[in-house]
Symmetry: C2
Subunit: 235 residues, 2 copies
């Protein structure tokens, strides 16, 4: 399998950074081809702007998604974006590894999503969910958080964690066509013992070794909707 790991943590000694390194090691040892993007180390610019396009479809008025389409088709995308797209397209599995900030990705990773998941390539017009541009690939969120497992669930204080992350799991990854694997959540990381961290890292190794058998989250199909995305009767 070909894998692209995108990692976004500001502290190289963090548990999240350990997960990033372990993921690369375990997957390479298992014979997979791994490329990565360590966004903080790369000083990745997360701000979507007109600077991303050296040639513009409309130089007087920026519609970011339309310029993405134009740039992908006619050239002129910033080099940093093109490099990331090549790694993304080469991969059968995309791993997003990050600490959960505000029930979402850190801004540097949100900006990778904003800038790299190009309109026209990854989605566009009527191509999303099972018709998205990255259909056939898998995506996996591996994340650390401060909260404890009992704080998430139907009657728990924060509800389901997957519901909090719906914008990523469904609205981003499933949207562009990925088969979205069950996330790996490392709970309560800042507060647990070294022993508990080692145990978590062992669980993560096991998840990596068995990645090809990992369950997927429910998927979304456009088959139940008409061309204008109204629900089809009886579906």
């Amino acid at each position: 399998m070909r894998v692209h790991i995108v990692h976004a943590h500001p502290e190289p000694l963090s548990f999240s950074a350990s997960m990033f390194r372990v993921a690369g090691e375990v997957l390479r040892s298992a014979g997979h081809f791994v490329q990565d993007s360590d966004l903080y180390a790369m000083n990745f610019d997360p701000v979507a702007s007109s600077d991303d396009f050296s040639k513009r479809a409309d130089s007087g008025y920026l519609v970011y998604a339309l310029e993405q389409r134009h740039g992908f088709k006619h050239g002129g995308l910033a080099v940093g974006i093109k490099t990331e797209i090549e790694k993304l397209l080469a991969a059968d599995l995309l791993i997003l590894n990050f600490p959960i900030f505000w029930f979402s990705a850190p801004a540097i990773l949100k900006g990778w999503i904003d800038r790299v998941l190009l309109s026209g390539l990854c989605y566009g017009g009527k191509r999303f969910y099972d018709r998205g541009g990255l259909a056939g690939k898998k995506a996996w969120i591996t994340a650390t958080l401060g909260g404890r497992p009992h704080m998430f669930g139907d009657n728990a204080v924060h509800g389901q964690l997957n519901d909090m992350l719906r914008h990523l799991l469904r609205g981003t990854l499933a949207y562009v066509g990925f088969d979205v694997l069950e996330p790996f959540y490392a709970y309560h990381v800042p507060y647990i013992s070294t022993e508990a961290r080692s145990k978590l890292l062992e669980e993560f190794r096991e998840a990596l070794i068995t990645i090809e058998k990992r369950a997927s989250l429910p998927s979304f199909s456009l088959d139940d909707f008409d061309e204008q995305f109204y629900p089809l009767p009886g579906r």
Copy 2:
């Protein structure tokens, strides 16, 4: 009322930018005190990093939230963060005005959230939801999107839009204690006529004029949970 409008769109001629200007005009005309943060115009840096702290609690290992607490207590927060905190604390109402990118905020605004909603000030330990540090203030999301209204709802292709934005509405704004107002969503903006845009802007003016009567989303109380955030029996 004192208002802080945070705006994040890369195109000054966009509909979102018109909403930003109209919000300031209408609220000032109605006698409110308005401060704003136009993040693209300010060239706001969205990347949470060790550069945010001139004095560190632990200079060898960055736990971002712990350095936020330390910086807030002992000084040493980056100037750009302090300025934003002053505007935030002065406000009775925070407005986040942005185009929806990936069912969330653009990275530049996500970074404002990551860097400005300080641990220790806005939340921390057992202070969140109705016990959050910003309790007593209101927050309002005013956003543009490409999707059409019928694409959102219980049986619609994307489910409820408020569920997609749960990480912002609940996981961020309600989390720090805000009373979260019903969002104003300007649908299908890139594709509608000038007349339809004018009509939308009129609706937005009306929403601004009647802002003090605007309904809130359901709130979240820690009263139903014990000190460890387990649900209390019978609640």
